[in-house]
Assembly symmetry: C2
Amino acid sequence: MDMSGYHLTSELARLALSSRPELHAEAERAARFGLIDYLASGFYARDDAGVAKLWRIVEAEGGSADVPVVGQGRKASFLKAALLNGFIGHALDFDDVHSDVRGHPSTVLLPALLSAAALNRLSGERFLAAYAVGVEVMARLGRTIGSAHYEKGWHNTYTLGVIAAAVAVGYLLGLSQERLEKAIGFAATQSSGMRIQFGTEAKPLHAGLAAQAALLSVKLAEEDFGGTRQGLDGDIGFFGLYGDLAAAEERLLTDWGSDWSIVQPGLWFKIYPFCSAAHHAADAALRLYQSGAFRTEEVDRVHVIFPPKGDAALIERNAATGEQGRFSVEYVVALALCGYPLTLEHFTNRPIEPGLLEFMPKIERRYDGAIEPAAHAVPKGRFTIVEVVTKNGDTYRERIDCPRGAPGNALTLDDLQAKLLASARNDQARVERLVETIMNMKTEDDMQSLLALI
Amino acid sequence: MDMSGYHLTSELARLALSSRPELHAEAERAARFGLIDYLASGFYARDDAGVAKLWRIVEAEGGSADVPVVGQGRKASFLKAALLNGFIGHALDFDDVHSDVRGHPSTVLLPALLSAAALNRLSGERFLAAYAVGVEVMARLGRTIGSAHYEKGWHNTYTLGVIAAAVAVGYLLGLSQERLEKAIGFAATQSSGMRIQFGTEAKPLHAGLAAQAALLSVKLAEEDFGGTRQGLDGDIGFFGLYGDLAAAEERLLTDWGSDWSIVQPGLWFKIYPFCSAAHHAADAALRLYQSGAFRTEEVDRVHVIFPPKGDAALIERNAATGEQGRFSVEYVVALALCGYPLTLEHFTNRPIEPGLLEFMPKIERRYDGAIEPAAHAVPKGRFTIVEVVTKNGDTYRERIDCPRGAPGNALTLDDLQAKLLASARNDQARVERLVETIMNMKTEDDMQSLLALI
């Protein structure tokens, strides 16, 4: 396989189309888990204020009501349903992440795939396979694009998600290789999304915009609209412009199919409704609080110690609302050390309580490049240490390398079912039917059953 | 005015909203000219194959038929009309460019503004003012973002157009400053578009995508959707990510309102239907051919001499179709030296004729950084020299610094009216009504008359 020159786009398309992840039981099972978790994240956001705002815009445009919108009991056009379903899945930042992606795969991939599945008769098996292919592409894009991409300010969920979702939908619909190459180019040329939007409703909107743009890309390819077949290649292609072309040429497509990124390292399902970069600190702070070794009012100061740049996603140092608090390690640690549960009602658009605002300045971020990350660390190279110093000088430390929910410390099907049940207002019957449908879906009828249940 | 720190977005919003370009007769007149030229470019593309493909996608989504689509006798939803009108205006690359923008302002700005005007009762005067404000923003973004932005591979028409069009529409609708700041952020986070798509239908699609994203940005702001108010600011904001933050802080907003970029340097209306970077060479080659000093078959070789990087937009060195030939100086010069008129029928999706394909290898691009650009050069620093060497060793040279249609060598109203007439299949009555409406439009009724005529 000649990987020099202009072959990234064509090889990616060829390998994606030749994939058979459904032959790997673990990949298929992981896809079923991811679907449950995505729906739970979406159901939780049912009454989110942003959803209502988006509906008003969608209504102003009008359009065919073809595709169900998660948890809304309503349908929208294939593009607008993808916009809504992407936003809804990510609205509370309660949806999965993937450490290779450094972002959120399922809330881009599944909305795009659901729209495509609603407009065509496709099997449940193929749907799950397309989802696994999408995760594979997004993980490989993430591994290859380099950490500088994220650190410069890009939001990988959008920049990489749009391309991965276009490949996933192209796979689902069985595009020709040539058309899939063009779809990749249309997606790449719509790749955007800035991290400066973190902490606002625009962040989850990015997921919806990526899903919508991916669907449009495939639709353009289906219409044989003209576009480059080399969107990822060369100095002015996607990698040259957004990342590291040499790394992509070397590593984007190596060992395709030997294992699946949806399994290895796998999706990270969240037990807390905030940015995963704060989950290590949350686990550590909860352990410290639950140890009973000190009382909240005895705390003099708290050090939260990261590897250098390990807190890049945690952009809020002075959160004022719970929503901003999703990106504030200070807020999360304050909640835990003040004895609050880390549940959804503390991460809404309401102002942070005065007691917590008073506590937060005790918390200081530190960075230590000399500490060796653990071999099982998730993401690779990451850890967080929370160190409480009491007024009488005692010090208590907890270090977390792999938080609950992360691969290696994964949620079980029971855990996921519990998350879905809580998200579905404890509608046991509905949740049981959903989980059964998802865990067994294979045929075209199964696919339609799922669409009728969401 | 404190320009340090995070004030770019807020100051841009404030200055834009306080603008009164309608007080400057020249700015208003330039806006009227730009509107005529945009419609001519759109009418020419009436039967373009890409338009039909986009219609099929728009029909698949459905939606309210609220906004007229140029030259189509049909309406589409406000977002989809912007997509179509952006594509249509730029489909043939016959629309205006602006040297500060290094791209195409009107085919992004006017589609977005037409959609907003069709959904609201707004005066023609305000419409023209909003257009002038949009050109101003896009020109300033272009001057500030730095040439590296374009050279790295971005397509300014899309990356800058989406932000400028959001400001223009926000101005048209009279958004509050806070909401306009947010609209700028929503637009900036959708800023994309790669030059690798040049020479394909995706290039004009970029204009439509930018217009559509700009309208969505304003709509989100109107719904008070959450987003950053500092999208242009800081290291991870728009300028930090796509360009040069220091240059933006120093120069983006200086001397606002002292003159208008729609006048100075002004829009460049094209007399040829191909990339403006080849217009200098086209004028030079036509002069050489028309001089009668040599016959085509006597030409041994041709040197086309640019300043370094002066041909960056001309990405096709081996064009195979007329469409690719829009970005091929070899094709354009070959046409002229072989005695063909530089008219639309030579820039379609059909294969290039064998005789021209044989001639094109005689043409060699050269670069000379030692040649002094002329003071009146458009764009600044640009020139092109075409040098014909005949088989018996004679050499003929023509140098063009400011081609026909460029500011300083501008088209008159008669020229524009002739372009519109040709584009409108010589429907004299319709063209006269259109030109009269545009040259006099002021009231809400005038605005509605225009919408009914396009």
